[in-house]
C-alpha cells in the first residue's frame, strides 16, 4: 500500500514543481519522508489576505490517495474555516464516509482523484471567500458576519505576522 502511495506522492511532487499553480509552493519537508509536506500559500490578490504568505503542514496517510491528508496552518490565521489550532476544515479534506447520510454531497468531498494541488487551490479560494455556514472558528465566523472592519483588522494582523512585520 505504502509503495503505491509513495509513487503517487512523488508524481504529484514532480508535477507541482514543473507546473506550480500561482501562489502555491509545496513539497516534502525531507525527501526521505514523502508523507509529510510543507506548503506556502500566498494570500489571494485583492482579498483581505492579500500579501500574506502562510505556511502549512500536510500529513498523508499510508493509504493515500484512498484517504485524504490532514492539513494544518503553522501560523496564526484568523478565519472562520480554520480551527484556532490551525487545522483546515473544508469539504475536500473529508471522506464521503464521514457523512453516513448520503452520497449526494460527496461530490465535493475527498475522492482518490483529488490531489494536493486541488486541495491547495480549494484552500486559496477558502481564504478569499470564507464560508460562515459551517464554522471551525466560531469567533472568526461571528466577526466575519457581524463586524467586517474588525475582521479586516485581524486578517491584516495575520498577514503582517506571516511576513514577520511587527504589529504597529
Amino acid at each position: 500500500m505504502a509503495g503505491a502511495s509513495l509513487k503517487r506522492l512523488m508524481a504529484e511532487y514532480k508535477q507541482l514543481t514543473l507546473n506550480p499553480p500561482e501562489g502555491i509552493i509545496a513539497g516534502p519537508l525531507d525527501e526521505d519522508n514523502f508523507f509529510e509536506w510543507e506548503a506556502l500559500i500566498a494570500g489571494p490578490e485583492g482579498t483581505i489576505f492579500d500579501g500574506g504568505v502562510f505556511p502549512a503542514r500536510l500529513i498523508f496517510p499510508t493509504d493515500y490517495p484512498l484517504n485524504p491528508p490532514k492539513m494544518k496552518f503553522t501560523c496564526d490565521l484568523f478565519h472562520p474555516n480554520i480551527y484556532p489550532d490551525g487545522r483546515v476544515c473544508i469539504s475536500i479534506l473529508h471522506t464521503p464516509g464521514d457523512d453516513p447520510t448520503g452520497y449526494e454531497s460527496s461530490s465535493e468531498r475527498w475522492s482518490p482523484v483529488q490531489s494536493v494541488e486541488k486541495i491547495l487551490l480549494s484552500v486559496v479560494s477558502m481564504l478569499a471567500e470564507p464560508n460562515d455556514e459551517s464554522a471551525a472558528n466560531v469567533d472568526a465566523a461571528k466577526c466575519w458576519r457581524e463586524d467586517k472592519s474588525r475582521f479586516l483588522e485581524c486578517a491584516q494582523r495575520s498577514v503582517r505576522k506571516s511576513l514577520g512585520i511587527p504589529d504597529l
Partner: protein, 495 residues
C-alpha cells in the same frame, strides 16, 4: 419451518420436546393457553438461515427480472433504491420517466450503455469489460490512471458504464478500503470526481480478489438487504444471524429457530399484553429516568409536614426540616404513613411503583437460568428415588410456566402505567395481583420448598400451582385482548 412451528404450537410450548406427555397429563392447561400462544400460528412467518437470505435475495431479483428484463446487478441496485419493494419498482419503472429513475438510483440507463460503448444494445455482466476495451481501442494504447498517476496500457484499465477508467490495482485498493474501512457496500460510487454512478456487485467480485474482503462485501450486501426490506427482520438474539420473513408487517410474536421469541414489529422480546407504542415510550422513559429515580429513591425522602424533598447527608436520624416556614422534627426511618400530594412527587412515586415491579420481574427472569440448572439436578436426584423420567418432568414444565408468567407480568406493568382507571382497569389489576401472588408462590416453591424430602408433597403443590398460574395468565391476557377489541382501554399520557 412452518410445519415444525405448527406442530409445536398445538402443544403450547415450542422449546420442550416432552410436551406430548404434558398434553396427556394436563389437557386443561393446554387448551386454555393454546388460544394465546397460537398467535404464532395465525401470524405466518419463516425463519431464514444466512444461506436462505441470500437465496431469497436472488429470488427477489429473478422475480423482478422476469418482468423488467435488466441485468441482475442493475436490478439489485434498483431494488435497493426502492427498499426491496418490488411493486413500487415495477410501478415506477413502467409509469414514470425511466431515465430519471436510473439517474436517481445512480446508474447509467441500459439504453445509453450501448451508445457509450459503441457496440449493440447487449447488456451482460461482461459488457463492462467489453465496452472498456472498445473505448480503449478507440483512444489508443495507454492512458493515465488518475489515482496512481501511472501511465498504463489500457488493457489493465477498467471502469463502470460512466466511462471513467482506472487501473485494476487502484480499483481493487479503492474497493477494499471502502468495504473494510468504511463498511459500505450499496453506496460505493465511481472514484471519479463528481461521479455518483454506483459500483455493481459483479464489478466488485471481478476486481476484488481477497477472499476476506469479498466475504465482508457479501455480508454487507445481505445486511442491507434485510435491513431495508420491511418484510424481513434480523433475529435480535446475540450471534443468531438468522432472519424472519413475514408476508405482512404486524406486531405479532415470531419465533426463531434459536428459540428467541420476539415482536416482529419492534424486535423487543414478545411483550403481550402491552402494545409496541407504549412499550417503546416506557423503555425510553426508563432510560431517561432510571438513574435519577434510583438516586432519588435511595437518597431522599420528603418532609412529612411540608413535602419538601430532603436528602439525608449525615448519620443522625433526627431530622429537622430546613424549610423555614415548616421546621418539622421527624424521624428519618419511621416517617409514618403520609399521603403524597405534590403532583410531581406523586407522579414520580407512581412511576417508581411500576418501574420497581417491572425491574423486579426482569431481574428475576435473568436468574431463572440458574433455576433451570438447580431443577435439573433435583430431577436427577428424584429419579434416583424411584420416580420415573416422565414423573419428574413436571418440574421443568413448572419453571417454563414461571418464566412465561414473569415475562407477562413484566409487561403488564408497562400496560398498567399508561392505563386510565375505569372498571375494566380494576378487573385487570385484580387479575394482575392474583397472577403475581400465585407466581411468587410458585417461585418460592421452586426456590425453597424443593429441598424438602417429601417428594410426593412437592409434586402435588408445584403441579397445582403452575397449572393455576398458567390458567390465570391466559385469563389475564384474554381480558386485555378483549379490551383491545372492544376498545375498553383508555390511556393517560399523549398517544
Amino acid at each position: 419451518m412452518d410445519s415444525e412451528e405448527e406442530m409445536y404450537d398445538e402443544s403450547e410450548e415450542e422449546e420442550v420436546s416432552d410436551d406430548d406427555h404434558n398434553m396427556v397429563m394436563e389437557p386443561e392447561v393446554s387448551s386454555t393457553t393454546a388460544t394465546y400462544d397460537s398467535q404464532d400460528e395465525t401470524y405466518p412467518h419463516e425463519v431464514l438461515s444466512p444461506e436462505m437470505i441470500v437465496q431469497h435475495m436472488i429470488d427477489c431479483i429473478k422475480d423482478v427480472n422476469t418482468i423488467v428484463e435488466l441485468p441482475a446487478t442493475i436490478t439489485r441496485i434498483l431494488l435497493n433504491h426502492f427498499k426491496w419493494d418490488k411493486e413500487k419498482l415495477i410501478e415506477k419503472y413502467y409509469d414514470g420517466d425511466q431515465e430519471k429513475l436510473f439517474a436517481e438510483a445512480h446508474i447509467i440507463s441500459p439504453s445509453r450503455r450501448g451508445q457509450a460503448s459503441g457496440s449493440s444494445n447487449q447488456v451482460s455482466v461482461s459488457s463492462t469489460t467489453r465496452s472498456t476495451r472498445s473505448r480503449a481501442a478507440a483512444t489508443g494504447r495507454s492512458a493515465d490512471c488518475e489515482i496512481c498517476f501511472s501511465t498504463l496500457p489500457t488493457t489493465v484499465m477498467t471502469g463502470l458504464e460512466c466511462g471513467h477508467l482506472f487501473c485494476e490495482q487502484c480499483w481493487s485498493m479503492y474497493l477494499t478500503s471502502k468495504i473494510l474501512h468504511e463498511g459500505i457496500s450499496e453506496t460505493i460510487s465511481c472514484p471519479a470526481h463528481v461521479c455518483g454512478i454506483l459500483v455493481d456487485d459483479a464489478t466488485v467480485m471481478r476486481l476484488v480478489r481477497d477472499q476476506r474482503v469479498r466475504l465482508k462485501y457479501q455480508h454487507l450486501i445481505t445486511n442491507s438487504f434485510v435491513e431495508c426490506n420491511r418484510l424481513l427482520r434480523w433475529c435480535p438474539a446475540a450471534d443468531c444471524g438468522r432472519a424472519i420473513r413475514v408476508n405482512y408487517v404486524d406486531s405479532k410474536p415470531v419465533t426463531c429457530t434459536c428459540g428467541h421469541r420476539f415482536c416482529f414489529s419492534c424486535a423487543e422480546s414478545w411483550h403481550d399484553p402491552v402494545k409496541c407504542f407504549w412499550l417503546k415510550k416506557w423503555v425510553k422513559k426508563c432510560d431517561d429516568d432510571s438513574e435519577t429515580s434510583n438516586w432519588i429513591a435511595a437518597n431522599t425522602k420528603e418532609c412529612p409536614k411540608c413535602q419538601v424533598t430532603i436528602e439525608k447527608d449525615g448519620g443522625c436520624n433526627h431530622m429537622i426540616c430546613r424549610n423555614q416556614s415548616c421546621k418539622a422534627d421527624f424521624c428519618w426511618v419511621c416517617l409514618g404513613p403520609w399521603e403524597p400530594h405534590g403532583s410531581s412527587w406523586a407522579a414520580l412515586q407512581r412511576y417508581l411503583h411500576y418501574c420497581n415491579r417491572y425491574m423486579n420481574h426482569m431481574q428475576s427472569l435473568k436468574f431463572e437460568h440458574k433455576l433451570y440448572a438447580k431443577i435439573k439436578a433435583k430431577m436427577e436426584e428424584m429419579q434416583k428415588h424411584n420416580m420415573s423420567w416422565i414423573e419428574v418432568q413436571f418440574l421443568k414444565k413448572a419453571v417454563d410456566v414461571l418464566c412465561q408468567c414473569r415475562q407477562t407480568l413484566m409487561f403488564t406493568y408497562v400496560f398498567a402505567f399508561y392505563l386510565k382507571k375505569n372498571n375494566q382497569s380494576i378487573i385487570f389489576e385484580d387479575n394482575q395481583r392474583d397472577l403475581e401472588q400465585a407466581t411468587e408462590q410458585l417461585s418460592e416453591y421452586l426456590e425453597r420448598d424443593i429441598t424438602s424430602d417429601i417428594l410426593i408433597d412437592i409434586k402435588q403443590k408445584v403441579q397445582d400451582k403452575f397449572r393455576y398460574c398458567d390458567t390465570r395468565r391466559s385469563v389475564l391476557l384474554a381480558h386485555v385482548h378483549e379490551g383491545y377489541e372492544k376498545e375498553l382501554w383508555e390511556y393517560q399520557g399523549s398517544l
